[in-house]
């Protein structure tokens, strides 16, 4: 049957002295000792494969678990009200009402995207979409928070075009609209790009599926793509099961995605759910069959018995251990009752999806895996899937944190010689909008399909992506992802809260009621106590803030070891917030509408001198001080105002203030549809006691700019006054001027920026840096 000696359980019992390559597989001595203890003998090669991969940081969350518990602990009954499935399953599920539910989750594919940008990013989308399917949901949209090194760095030149093409290549082929994301350039991400992907799906309550193997005698089936040697490069020590010869093994270093196979898999699974043909289902991602069998068995009440030689292979040289660890894409595992087996096969045949029956659910409480009839794995599935090692990693506040926080923008050289005249401020606004982080991202987002499905009510470049769920009622969801890593670096606790606050604000700005949170925690090495402190602080901050805002974390992902040559990335807790619309047709766009000439522009919120970590400071090469203050009560009230204003049809545009402050928001609202404005910061400077520079560039939180018809002004200001929320009329929309005119207490009148000039400069930044993309061949054409 095979070219290798099979290490059976029996053999393991007989040969206790055999040396196993546990260290090469990433296990620590104490972890290996624990395996010996659990089994009461040495593990077989296959068991070693399973434990090593399932107990890895990625699968077991061993460093992060003790902290992540807060997401489950810091919740009230009220917060759990709409939560149908919480943390722990493939993705959380939230009730939307009217029999509908929604599930969403963010995941990272950072390292693979660095190694092979196109395929890494593509398979990142593939993986998160399978998580959504495995809940019984139809995936309906994706988002992609991205971070790259300096825009001019060769590494960015190589990575960005491939990542973007990969996200498009895979997501577009699945028929999933891409409705938003982020693009950040910062040298801390050189050699450590962050490629996070969010997927959202919808389901009827009755379609909910969980990853558990229940019902003794039910059959276990693996379906989708064949299993190859993908993703087991590091585990090539298993290429020979006898461990003594060093037969070279050729295992692919990267996984290649097959979006066509995944699209067919989606439709096939939905038909299976629709016809009620699966009892439990689990996607195959990290740790492949090891993960799927042990999690299904561990979540169920019994055990499982499978025959591994029945797995359909793409590469016939794979050893049992490798088959167990393989991360080949586009595969699913399901539990099916014997009565449904035939109908199940018929659906798969219709979609041309390959499958093989591997075994059945038992009542033994053991996960038993055979190879050609001989037992090679005999374990308690819980010990593999759920009772992995848990570390209380030491952490402490970095010694440099105080110094960093003391180095404020105002005290630094970067904070001297600030623009003050109208002329200087006008130039500063233009400079701001042509920095890579503020520049037009459509070179990237135009590579994504935002229309497919016909349910996209809002997408990039608006503050949130909005998807209609129910055509009959307009019921739908709004989603935003955010994180300012510079804030998180200055203060990880506040930084995580600021990320949440911004995503919450974005969702509310579009008019949706925030309901749930998913997060992707990208950090450096947990073995560095300073990084671990950043992580602990960020989790604590996020959990506290969720509690205060009253929205639960429903799932997420942790990505550690994002560091190169001892230098960690900035702590980057990316936060996604999902909100609900009773009717998406009332969503508020984030730009002045073409017909909105003469509408009033109001600034909601208070502006303070908060330039530490700001985009303006970044342009001057400064990072220090404390980030803007976060006030979640303010965010809540602001959210209520925006949602009510949308419900009552008071406002026609709303855009939140974040990077670049008021200056950026004003520019962005005009750039959206090419409609100008005339505003003044006189009163703002007076009311909030600011100089004009601070009024324009401060990044104080809890602020939103809106435009509304004059007929609604009174009703609107009555509402803000009733809530004691600051609202200041800054000026009017001017559809004729073709420019942005700003007056204020400047020594030299006012400044104006022509929209054509601004648009030209703003939209040429990214295209000028990136040439053309061609699968496999990335070329940069100059000129």
């Amino acid at each position: 049957m095979s070219d290798f000696n099979i290490d059976t359980v029996e053999n393991a019992g007989d040969t206790p002295e055999t040396e196993l390559p546990w260290a090469e597989l990433g296990l620590k001595q104490d972890e290996y000792d624990r395996i010996l203890d659990i089994l009461g003998r040495r593990p077989t090669a296959a068991e070693l494969a399973m434990y090593s991969v399932m107990w890895s940081e990625h699968c077991s969350y061993k460093s992060s678990k003790v902290h992540l518990r807060q997401f489950g602990d810091k919740v009230t009954e009220e917060m759990k009200k709409d939560l149908m499935v919480g943390i722990g399953e493939n993705a959380g599920v939230t009730d939307l009402g009217e029999g509908w539910a929604v599930t969403f989750k963010i995941e990272s594919h950072n390292h693979p995207s660095y190694v092979e940008p196109y395929q890494g990013a593509a398979t990142g989308i593939g993986g998160i979409v399978r998580d959504i399917i495995s809940m019984g949901a139809r995936p309906v949209a994706v988002m992609d928070p991205l971070r790259f090194g300096d825009i001019d760095h060769p590494d960015t030149q190589r990575v960005l075009p491939g990542v973007v093409a990969g996200i498009g290549g895979y997501g577009n082929s699945l028929g999933l609209p891409n409705i938003g994301g982020e693009v950040v350039f910062d040298s801390v991400y050189q050699q450590n790009p962050l490629v996070n992907a969010l997927a959202v799906g919808v389901l009827k309550h009755g379609d909910l599926r969980l990853a558990n193997a229940s019902g003794v005698g039910n059959k276990v089936v693996l379906f989708g793509a064949r299993t190859g040697g993908d993703g087991i490069g590091g585990a090539s020590v298993l290429a020979s099961e006898s461990f003594d010869d060093t037969k070279p093994s050729k295992r692919p270093a990267v996984q290649v995605g097959d979006p066509f196979a995944e699209k067919v898999l989606i439709e096939c699974c939905l038909e299976l759910f629709h016809n009620n043909l699966v009892e439990g289902i689990q996607d195959l991602g990290a740790a492949g069959i090891s993960c799927a069998t042990s999690e299904l068995a561990s979540n169920g009440e019994g055990g499982m018995h499978v025959e591994l030689t029945d797995v359909l292979l793409r590469d016939h040289t794979l050893t049992p251990g490798e088959i167990l660890m393989s991360e080949s894409q586009e595969r699913m595992m399901a539990v099916v009752t014997p009565e449904n087996a035939e109908a199940f096969e018929a659906v798969l045949a219709r979609w041309g999806v390959e499958f093989s029956w591997l075994g059945e659910v038992t009542d033994t409480g053991r996960l038993i895996i055979d190879w050609d009839g001989e037992t090679i794995v005999d374990v308690d599935p819980r010990t593999v899937a759920h009772d992995g090692p848990v570390y209380e990693r030491p952490y402490h506040r970095p010694a440099w944190q105080d110094e960093l926080q003391a180095d404020t923008f105002r005290s630094a050289e970067a904070g001297q010689g600030l623009p003050a005249s109208a002329e200087e401020l006008g130039e500063a606004v233009l400079d701001l909008m042509t920095s890579p982080n503020m520049a037009d991202k459509s070179w990237i987002t135009d590579q994504f399909d935002r229309f497919v499905g016909g349910n996209t009510a809002l997408s990039q470049p608006d503050d949130s992506g909005v998807i209609r769920v129910d055509e009959a009622t307009g019921l739908g969801v709004g989603l935003a992802t955010d994180c300012n890593d510079r804030y998180a670096y200055l203060d990880p606790y506040a930084g995580a809260q600021l990320a949440l606050a911004e995503a919450y604000r974005n969702v509310a700005t579009a008019g949706a009621v925030p309901l749930a949170v998913s997060d992707c925690l990208n950090f450096g090495s947990p073995e560095d106590p300073e990084v671990m402190w950043q992580f602990a602080e960020a989790v604590r901050g996020l959990a506290d803030a969720c509690m205060e805002l009253g929205i639960p974390v429903t799932g997420g992902n942790v990505s550690l070891y994002n560091q190169t040559a001892g230098r960690a990335i900035h702590p980057t807790p990316v936060v996604g917030v999902l909100g609900k619309f009773d009717d998406v047709s009332r969503r508020t766009p984030s730009g002045f509408q073409r017909w909105a000439d003469g509408q009033a522009i109001y600034l909601l919120g208070t502006t303070r001198d908060e330039l530490n970590g700001s985009e303006f400071a970044r342009q001057r090469g400064h990072l220090g001080g404390l980030p803007p203050a976060v006030d979640l009560n303010v965010e809540k009230t602001l959210g209520e105002i925006l949602i009510n204003a949308s419900r009552d049809g008071m406002i026609d545009a709303a855009h939140d203030l974040s990077e670049g402050g008021l200056a950026a928001a004003l520019a962005e609202m005009s750039l959206r549809f090419g409609v100008g404005s005339r505003t003044s910061v006189h009163e703002l400077c007076e009311r909030d006691e600011l100089d004009p520079f601070t009024a324009l560039f401060s990044e104080s939180q809890g602020r939103v700019l809106v435009s509304l018809p004059r007929s609604e002004e009174l009703r609107f200001t009555d509402m803000t006054t009733a809530r004691g929320f600051p609202a200041l009329r800054l000026g009017v929309v001017d559809a004729e001027s073709g420019g942005i005119e700003v007056a204020g207490p400047f020594p030299d009148g006012s400044f104006g920026i022509g929209l054509d000039e601004l648009k030209e400069a703003w939209s040429s930044v990214i295209p000028s840096k990136f040439g053309q993309v061609n699968a496999g061949v990335t070329t940069t054409t100059t000129d």
């Binding site: 190859g228 040697g229 295992r251 270093a253 290649v256 097959d258 979006p259 496999g776 061949v777 070329t779």
Partner: protein, 84 residues
């Protein structure tokens, strides 16, 4: 006009979705007897003058560094063809 032909194929251990789709489709069109298919690329680099050793070497380097993606592809051959 001489031409340097560069042939690139996906590495054998790497999934080739395109080849797979073709292999699946062939029998439906009555083409049986092919056990598997892989799809790669063929580049023709045209040269105005003569094929010097330097040019051939340059083509080899271009094949390895730019025309193929060494993470997932192998350069199968770099050969000279006259008057294609």
């Amino acid at each position: 006009m001489p031409t340097i032909v560069v042939e690139v194929m996906p590495k054998p251990e790497i999934l080739d979705p395109q080849g797979k789709a073709i292999a699946n489709a062939l029998p439906h069109l009555g083409f049986t007897g092919f056990s598997s298919v892989r799809q790669g690329k063929r580049f023709e680099l045209n040269i105005d003058g003569e094929v010097t050793d330097e040019l051939l070497e340059s083509a080899r380097t271009a094949a390895a560094e730019m025309l193929s993606n060494p993470v997932i592809e192998d350069v199968v051959s770099v050969t000279v063809a006259e008057g294609l």
